[in-house]
């Protein structure tokens, strides 16, 4: 599939996962991500893979736990309420140092919320979600092509650092269609996993997949080792896009779909002579702190735009560290901010309105 094809975000994630060598998918349907599962259901049986619709999200994530422990490239996907159900399993997977990819196509919450797009799971994705001292690596694509590219990358990062990786998109990204291309990828060269429970064949010690450490000294050692890997991830895997920040008076901060709306607003404001830039975090964890530190030296103010009541804005404030004011504008509950709303906010901050 090297030519351009037209795909929904959800389908593109599924195809990208398959091309990255994922042969095990465990999930449970929920709007607006069901097409991930539907595509897997159609395709996996044809290529010798496993698609399994579990009886609940809780069992789906525990099947992921099992498959990851056995060394498989494995994925699950859901939308906000379903991801909440999976949190216990995600914490266990992180605790057992296992790689897997988790898709969250976010809808309005809390509770059952609604089925329209939202970004109100930022806290859950980046600040734990489940219990214990752990992080997920969190990728936030802003186009269908980027969903493809980051899905492929997510499997590599998961394997390299033995960590669960989340791809977070909103319902709009899951449902909309855009042209994409797939770079053919060598799936034969998957990394060795000497820790996996693949059978000793009488030739080695048992591998044990476990997150239970009753001796506190052992548990602390395990957590500190993981922390070391997190430090390496922070050093190597941070991704962001920065546009027009060098001369910007006002810097918009947005991820995913909202960043495309912000870019649109930025173009209009630039035409009106207002110097606006955009920082788009692509990894939400680790957060791209350095570009904020750098930009805060020259900018007058930051404006975080989100489909939430203000979640990423807290990380922006930490990164800017008081160097200049950080404002927030958000719509929530499935409402999507418009370019005009963002333009108005920038003008208010700049004292133009």
């Amino acid at each position: 599939m090297s030519d351009k094809v037209l795909m929904k975000g959800n389908e593109a994630i599924a195809e990208a996962a398959i091309q990255a060598g994922c042969r095990y998918f465990f999930g449970y349907p929920i709007t607006p991500q069901t097409e991930v599962a539907a595509y897997m259901a159609k395709k996996m049986p044809k290529i010798g893979g496993v698609f399994l619709q579990a009886e609940s999200e809780v069992s789906a994530i525990n099947m992921v736990y099992g498959a990851a422990g056995a060394g498989a490239r494995v994925m699950t996907s859901s939308s906000s309420p379903g991801i909440s159900l999976k949190q216990e399993g995600i914490s266990y997977i992180a605790g057992a140092n296992l790689p897997c990819v988790i898709i969250n196509i976010v809808r309005g919450g809390p509770g059952l919320g609604g089925i329209q797009p939202a970004q109100s799971d930022y806290f859950q994705a980046t600040k734990g979600g489940g219990h214990g001292d752990y992080h997920l690596v969190v990728f936030a694509p802003a186009s269908i092509q980027e969903m493809v590219d980051l899905t492929s990358n997510a499997f590599d990062v998961a394997d390299k650092y033995r960590t669960p990786v989340m791809i977070i998109g909103d319902g709009m990204l899951g449902q909309m269609m855009e042209p994409v291309t797939f770079q053919s990828k060598e799936t034969a060269s998957l990394p060795e996993k000497p820790w996996a429970t693949t059978g000793t064949k009488g030739k080695r010690e048992h591998n044990i997949i476990n997150s239970l450490y009753l001796n506190p000294e052992d548990l602390e050692k395990n957590i500190l080792e993981r922390q070391e890997r997190y430090n390496t991830i922070k050093a190597n895997e941070v991704r962001y896009e920065a546009v027009g920040v060098e001369d910007a008076d006002y810097v918009l901060v947005a991820y995913g779909m909202t960043a495309r709306i912000a870019k649109n607003a930025m173009a209009t404001l630039r035409k009106q002579g207002i110097k606006v830039g955009l920082i788009r975090p692509i990894t939400l964890w680790p957060f791209p702190t350095e570009i904020f530190e750098k930009t805060a030296k020259t900018a007058k103010a930051f404006l975080s735009v989100e489909m939430s009541m203000g979640q990423m804005v807290e990380d922006v404030r930490l990164a800017v560290n008081g160097a200049c004011p950080v404002h927030f504008y958000g719509r929530t509950g499935g409402m999507v901010p418009t370019p005009d709303e963002i333009i108005n906010e920038v003008k208010k901050i700049g004292g133009v309105l």
Partner: protein, 222 residues
Amino acid sequence: MSDARIYIFTGHFGSGKTEVAVNFAMNLAKQGKKTAIVDLDIVNPYFRTKDAEKPLTQQGVRVIAPEYANTNVDMPTLPSDILSVFADKDLSVVFDVGGDDDGATALGPYFSYFSKEDYKMYLVINTNRPLTQTSGDIIDYMHDIEAASRLKIHALVNNTNLSYSTEAVNLTQGQAVLDEVSRQTGIQTELVSVQKSLIDKLDPALKDKAFGLDLYLQIPWL
């Protein structure tokens, strides 16, 4: 455009059925026909006929949509006033059906009505969609949709596109695949649907079938 009273648009999930069906209904209304469009999509949660309700209503097209369409209630129900379109014989009706055989199942309850009068069923195809790139795949979809709906597909719509990256050559490439489908099934391409700005650039061989589209379901700020 032929002169049936009932037009049914089916196709693979994401083939562009809704955009084609909405434009088709607009054209009928512009010709002065009393027109209704029925949103029978039980598959898609976003990008639905109801998103184009305003221009449709302005053109005089009656929009019959499930009670819960676009209300955030994730419930695939069928419109309660749908039967009225079978009673009013002066009405031209466009059915926008959900994708694949799953979507076509929604036609099932109305089989007895469709079998009593002439209808015309189109299969909308975009050969840039990954699962309908070959004539073999398309013919499989055709059979699945016909089996699920118990209705017969009469004509093909070449709706090959890459959203905002579409070029005229995409439709030429798509037509080659559709022509192979026609050779194998005897079902011909009747419409080549393309955004109006590209009609002039179309391959001359496709121009007489060109069906110009205004895009009602695109997100304006993309």
